[in-house]
């Protein structure tokens, strides 16, 4: 069941017009229009060796432009999007073009009101986050109304009601949410000069979706979730914690079990100049929360369950990325950042930065509810789970160390080593896939030829016996600041057990940037893989061809 989006344009467009008239009637000086533009397109060529399919359209494009008008406390904006047709790896549902995003908003005194589309999050997002991540094709913006109210300093209330974006339509459910945040040191004059800064927050979200009378079980129409959070800062110490609880919410994603959901997110850090230490832990139990209980994949998420593992950027380090398992996971993360100072034995002339981290994620404990009921059985509570117990199954672990050192005025070096364990079966949802153990080494060397000319080389190697075996990558990049770059890269699967599949993935790129405008071209092969941003991932299919990318801000 999908609601048509067109209905609401009419009244909203008049509101926008009324707002414009209002603004011009007041003759406020200094109104501005700003915006941006982004285009990504590819001309595809078939490459059966690497499984790059023949593309009927030959050429496909994702593009959008934002226009935002601001004048004093008033702002309004629209975004036009065109997917003609959506590039490989993006959902076909995006096919088409139109204006899926428009809003008007104003601030007056302690009130801020937004109508139309908006993004927001409560706390860490455990029970509510509406956000966009264009590279992943994610946009779960709310279409509705939002009111922010700051009755006095240090206290912020937020309330919102709306539907979520579902490609060119909207999700079936209605989301209602409230959030309150108290900055105690601002709110109470007595605490103003305290060395300890305390922030408390609480939120509640509920989703309404009609029961389905044809379905075997009675489904809850209103599903509520609540969360409480605390942030304490004192000197070098910083603690941030949030706990969330969700009522029973049987859905296609949890096999229609009636167990309530829970999430806990806790971080503590110590930082002073030259040293940073962080410890974090989290537990997630049955926390899928969507606008529509029948939807799978990335759309219509209400809860955002960040993954605690480190997000890697070097290609082979990011080869096996982790993504949160909302069904249930328990894990921890620790990192230390340290600087060996200038003019010391280890620091050298310019100082040496070292960063090391370890993370591990396991399944939570899943125990049968009684002797006769199978685990995860439909229409039951599904399972029992001890809150503090680590399940036996390892999902992911990552030890890595990175050393950054400026060797001389013209040489810079980054060394990176990783040791990963990756449960391909669970993370990619491919039953029967192995546990992948990989060791990865990376050297990134920059040579500054003149003030504005630099050559950078990246050498990466991954050793593993599982999946596709060993890989090596070489990248060379030449830059002329601030405008030009040219690079060539080859990823070579030299250790593939199937000797006829030891492919080279070569890619050549050229880019030009002037101010906020950037254009780049790339030609070559794209390896089949997984692209992740913020713990959410999408599969990137293999492709070959010419890519073009243009971005601009005005």
């Amino acid at each position: 069941m999908i609601l048509p989006m067109k209905k609401i344009y009419f009244p909203l467009s008049w509101l926008l017009l009324a707002a414009c008239l209002q603004v011009s009637a007041q003759q406020l000086p200094g109104g501005q229009i700003h915006g941006n533009f982004e285009l990504n397109a590819q001309y595809y060529t078939e490459d059966s060796a690497i499984n790059a399919p023949e593309v009927n359209e030959q050429f496909m494009m994702n593009a959008y432009t934002n226009l935002i008008y601001t004048n004093g406390n008033f702002s309004a904006g629209v975004r036009y999007e065109a997917y003609l047709n959506p590039m490989l790896g993006f959902d076909k549902e995006y096919e088409g073009n139109g204006i899926p995003y428009r809003f008007a908003s104003y601030r007056q005194g302690e009130f801020e009101i937004t109508v139309g589309n908006f993004y927001d999050q409560f706390g860490n997002g455990l029970i509510f986050r509406a956000y966009e991540e264009k590279t992943l094709g994610i946009d779960n913006s709310i279409d509705g109304v939002r009111v922010k109210f700051e009755p006095w300093k240090g206290i912020v209330f937020k309330g919102l009601v709306g539907n979520q974006r579902y490609y060119w339509n909207k999700g079936d459910g209605i989301i209602r949410g409230v959030d309150a945040e108290f900055h105690l040191n601002d709110a109470f004059p007595k605490m103003e000069n305290w060395k300890t800064k305390i922030t408390l927050g609480g939120s509640a979200v509920s989703r309404f979706q009609k029961d389905d009378p044809t379905f075997k079980y009675k489904l809850p129409e209103n599903v509520a979730a609540m969360a409480g959070r605390l942030e304490v800062v004192r000197g070098a110490f910083h603690v941030n914690g949030e706990y969330a609880y969700k009522m029973n919410d049987p859905s296609v994603l949890n096999n229609y079990i009636y167990k309530p959901g829970e999430a806990l997110f806790l971080t503590g850090s110590y930082s002073r100049k030259g040293l940073g230490i962080i410890l974090a832990g989290k537990r997630i139990d049955n926390m899928h929360f969507r606008s529509d209980r029948n939807v799978t994949g990335n759309p219509l998420t209400i809860s955002y369950l960040p993954s605690l593992t480190r997000q890697h950027t070097y290609a082979l380090a990011a080869f096996y990325p982790y993504s949160t398992q909302p069904k249930g996971e328990i894990g921890y993360f620790a990192e230390i950042d340290y600087i060996f100072r200038k003019n010391t034995a280890l620091g050298g002339k310019y100082g040496t930065q070292v960063s090391a981290s370890y993370s591990r994620v396991n399944a939570i404990e899943f125990k049968a509810i009684d002797e006769t009921t199978a685990l995860f059985k439909r229409g039951t509570l599904g399972y029992r789970s001890d809150f503090f117990k680590f399940g036996d199954e390892v999902y992911f672990s990552d030890f890595n160390i990175e050393i950054t050192r400026k060797i001389s005025k013209s040489w810079k070096l980054i060394l990176n080593y990783l040791n990963l364990a990756y449960n391909q079966d669970v993370i990619e949802g491919h039953p029967g896939s192995p546990m992948v153990y990989a060791n990865i080494g990376i050297a990134d060397l920059t040579y500054k030829i003149t003030e504005k000319h630099a050559l950078r080389a990246e050498l990466q190697q991954m050793l593993t016996r599982q999946d596709k075996g060993e890989w090596v990558q070489l990248l060379l990049e030449y830059t002329i600041a601030p405008r030009w770059f040219i690079s060539v890269m080859d990823q070579y699967n030299y250790g593939n057990e199937q000797s006829d599949q030891r492919y080279h993935y070569y890619l050549g790129s050229l880019g030009y940037t002037k101010g906020p405008n950037r254009i780049s071209l790339a030609w070559g092969r794209q390896r089949e893989g997984i692209l992740c941003v913020g713990g959410v991932c999408r599969a990137v299919p293999a492709s070959n061809g010419l890519q073009i990318s243009i971005t601009s801000t005005f």
Binding site: S24, G31, H183, G274, D337, T513
Partner: protein, 174 residues
Amino acid sequence: MKNFILTIILGLPLLLPAQEDQHKAAGLPSVTIKNLNGENINTATLSNKGKPMIISFWALWCKPCIKELTTIADVYDEWVEETGVKLFAVSIDDARSSARVKPMVEGKGWEYEVLLDPNGDFKRAMNITVIPHTFLLDGNGNVVWQHASFSEGSELELIELVRKLNRGESLDAH
């Protein structure tokens, strides 16, 4: 849909006269983000006491961003002493990694004013598509120059522009 587009078209002439004034009073949009102590900061209030300021958007997962800020960190003391410039480093890391920003920034010894924009509200208001994206603002808080991406040596252009601003010269083009 037609109605909506019609409204926009009808609405545009109303907006155009206002747009001509753009250069008189630009300033930053008003968005609430956080500092590293979890306190709310309204971006419209960011200032550097009449001196130029730099706003650089970055994230922990963005290598060129870290490279840019590490490069500038080496010379930041000298920049501040010479020109009085101030750099605000706005991290767009979300809840996944925003707690790591503070220990990392301190661990690297950066002396910038670091702010957190975990849901991209400030980023959206500034119309950013890719990071790193760096803005230069004059003493009155007007954006006078911006640049996306970083390559070795780009920082030299940036500080040269700051010096120009201090000399009262106009920054033509980008």
